[in-house]
Symmetry: C2
Subunit: 437 residues, 2 copies
């Protein structure tokens, strides 16, 4: 067993956070303990290093479908037993599938941690699936897709924009999967995927709460530790994205659209793929552009030019592969989307050309670091911050030293980051009201 | 051995062409003989039912790369021996890789057919590859890509448009492969691909020329017939395309562009996937829209409106999976591409709304059938017509009865076909001169 405390003096100096420990069990499962003694509660999460971007070709949606099926019971605990137990203990549970990971979590009183571990360890290898449960659950997922995407023009545009942005890489495929591929997913697909990825080597246990490393490790050894190792960690096989040298515009006009909108996206480095400081510079730049009320997009498009009712952005920085950065604007009636797009480009170009003021830079950094600190106030989001970072290839130290890395971003770094947002390489989404229909 | 003559009375009635035979050797290889006694020459082609769309994920370009490597020699015939022999015999040779197939052909005097078969059969299983020949040939392919695509804005736009049109299906990947994936192709990739697809079950021999079925089959049995069967035909594994409900516009502006242009593409059924008559209706419709001088696009955009210097279209009808139809227009100086696109849409909408005249319909059909008849005048294109049809899942009878199927297309069918070209689902390519740079 390999125990290491990652919280060195540097981290303690800059962040008065908990001393986070990481332990690797002999079967390869990583155990991360985040002390949080404010309430007698624990958040118990198991993260698997596989998400929708690891769906085999032609089997899109299988990661998400399996997440649903993981609630179908094991030989030891029939369907519903785990959820009933959580409810009986007054706890909460959930699960989520992302592009790069799948995670299961429960929040219970601290004395029930061991019970959660027993149940969760049991379903890591003991899942029982019959066609009787698989087919109806597939209908549930199909209905979920129908409700969320098929009938929502904004969601349809989002899928088309993602597919255009990632021409080759599976980040272009929706997490829930393409309708026609979900329809074909069956028990064998689910079990093959389960056997490939649900192994101790591929899992990360994150426990945040009123616990010590010693007791978590002892419980983990007695539960997860009994699962035999597979021998090697599963490998993510993903094609790399080619460099598409063209601007792409995706337009969707639908009578159901009440509010037109514009988005521009780019593929940019993620924390995992970026050079040192590069992702932090993108975060700071995005903050300067898109912060509510004070961001430049809001100031220029909403306040000065009065052509938008809202404007902002988003950067999916936690990702295994190069990821996406998105800017958006919602037009005031009478503003066409091309005009809005040009105005948005000008805001970015100005940032790349003229840079930022010291005050703007400092405000952006302060806000970023403060937001991260506030997020840690919730035990679940604290656990989630570490889990998502570890599941995408970052380390505990990366998370702990992140505030320093943000502080180190210079005005020149921000200008460089803004230069990445070249309109000639952007993918633009235009959501329009179809007046004719 | 299973011999069948596919040229039934119906075909003889409508087309005074040769009686084409198809034979399947015991090892699964199909042998097609197309008598053509006009000159004492034969065209010898071997078609494999695998093309770039069968490249394994992350290994784009392997079908095309292997096509290059197939000239690197076998134990029996070292590198250059086959080509030297063709030259010595006064013949011609070539090879090509398409989305759905790879083919090798030689054209020689009839008495050398057996020699060609011996060489071609030898390299179906006897290819010898060393790293010494693989690495330099990969550089050749990389240079080919650099020359054709990397430095040509039109080719770059074409790749981006294809990638946008086929978001998921491998028809969106260039035949030559993505640069970064070609760079990683190695000897093992080539041999694994070779072993998977270069089998008698996956091959079609097409011989057109001054030969009889009996002699071709006798030669084939003595050469290809000696290759042991693999046991089963390789399977093409391709994801299906989701229905993307958005218009997509791909813009590329480059200082090197001399002539801007506009293209609109749609995914439409191919002969293999279409309902009976549907692909023929698309062909007739395309003819009506895009025939040189007489097509509606030329008439409306070039002659009437004087906004284009050229306009036309293209339909990739021979394909295993749903395929593409493309319309294009080249603007007169002073016409912007959005205006041109709207005018193009109006021509299509008019066809879908108001239909065609009998005269227009008949002229389109006559021309289509005549073009196909003219193509058969060349032995190589005759052989190619059958080879490509068979390699994508059509039958000899389909090819033979095609003129009748075209004649059966009605004005209503053409209107239906035109309705498939919905601008709200189109992928548009805009090639622009970058004046700023």
């Amino acid at each position: 067993m390999n125990v290491s405390s990652s919280s060195g003096p540097a981290a303690v100096e800059t962040q008065a956070g908990p001393a986070i420990s990481s332990v690797t069990l002999p079967n390869g499962m990583q155990v991360v303990v985040i002390p949080d003694h404010r309430t007698p509660v624990v958040t118990h999460m198991v993260w698997y290093r596989n998400g929708s971007a690891d769906d085999p070709l032609g089997k899109s949606g299988i990661a998400h479908f399996l997440e649903h099926l993981m609630f179908k019971g094991t030989e030891k605990h029939p369907q519903g037993a785990f959820s009933d137990k959580v409810t009986e203990l007054g706890g909460q549970e959930n699960a989520f599938t992302s592009l790069d990971y799948t995670a299961y979590f429960q929040r219970v009183a601290r004395e029930h941690l061991r019970t959660m571990m027993e149940f969760e360890a049991d379903r890591m290898t003991g899942l029982v699936l019959s066609d009787d449960v698989v087919a109806p659950e597939r209908d549930v997922v199909l209905e979920e897709r129908r409700m969320r995407t098929e009938t929502d023009p904004g969601a349809q545009l989002g899928e088309a924009v993602s597919a255009a942005l990632f021409a080759h890489h599976p980040y272009g495929t929706p997490i829930i999967g393409w309708m026609h591929e979900i329809e074909d997913l069956d028990r064998e697909d689910a079990l093959a995927y389960y056997r490939r990825f649900y192994t101790p080597e591929n899992a990360i246990l994150v426990v945040a709460g009123d616990v010590t490393t010693e007791e978590v490790v002892a419980h983990a050894e007695a539960t997860y530790g009994r699962i035999p190792p597979r021998g090697e960690a599963p490998v993510r096989r993903r094609p790399k994205e080619p460099e598409i040298r063209a601007a792409r515009i995706v337009k969707l006009a639908d009578p159901k659209v009440e509010q037109p909108s514009l988005q521009r996206c780019w593929i940019v480095p993620s924390y995992t793929t970026a050079a040192p400081g590069e992702a932090e510079a993108l975060e700071v730049m995005l903050q300067i552009l898109s912060a509510p009320q004070t961001g430049r997009l809001h100031k220029r498009l909403v306040l000065d030019k009065r052509i938008a009712v809202a404007a902002g952005g988003w950067y999916q920085s936690t990702a295994v592969d190069p990821s996406r950065l998105l800017l958006y604007a919602v037009p005031l009636p009478g503003t066409d989307l091309d005009t809005l797009g040009t105005a948005l480009d000008e805001v970015v170009a100005e940032l790349a050309r003229d840079g930022v003021t010291d005050k703007e830079l400092q405000r952006a950094k302060t806000r970023l670091v403060a937001d991260a600190a506030y997020a840690q106030d919730s035990q679940a989001s604290l656990a989630r911050m570490y889990g998502s970072a570890l599941a995408t290839g970052s380390s505990i130290a990366d998370v702990e030293h992140w505030p320093e890395a943000v502080e180190a971003v210079t005005a020149a770094d921000v200008m460089e980051a803004a230069k990445k947002l070249d309109p000639r390489r952007a993918v633009t989404g235009q959501l329009l009201k179809d007046e004719a229909a």
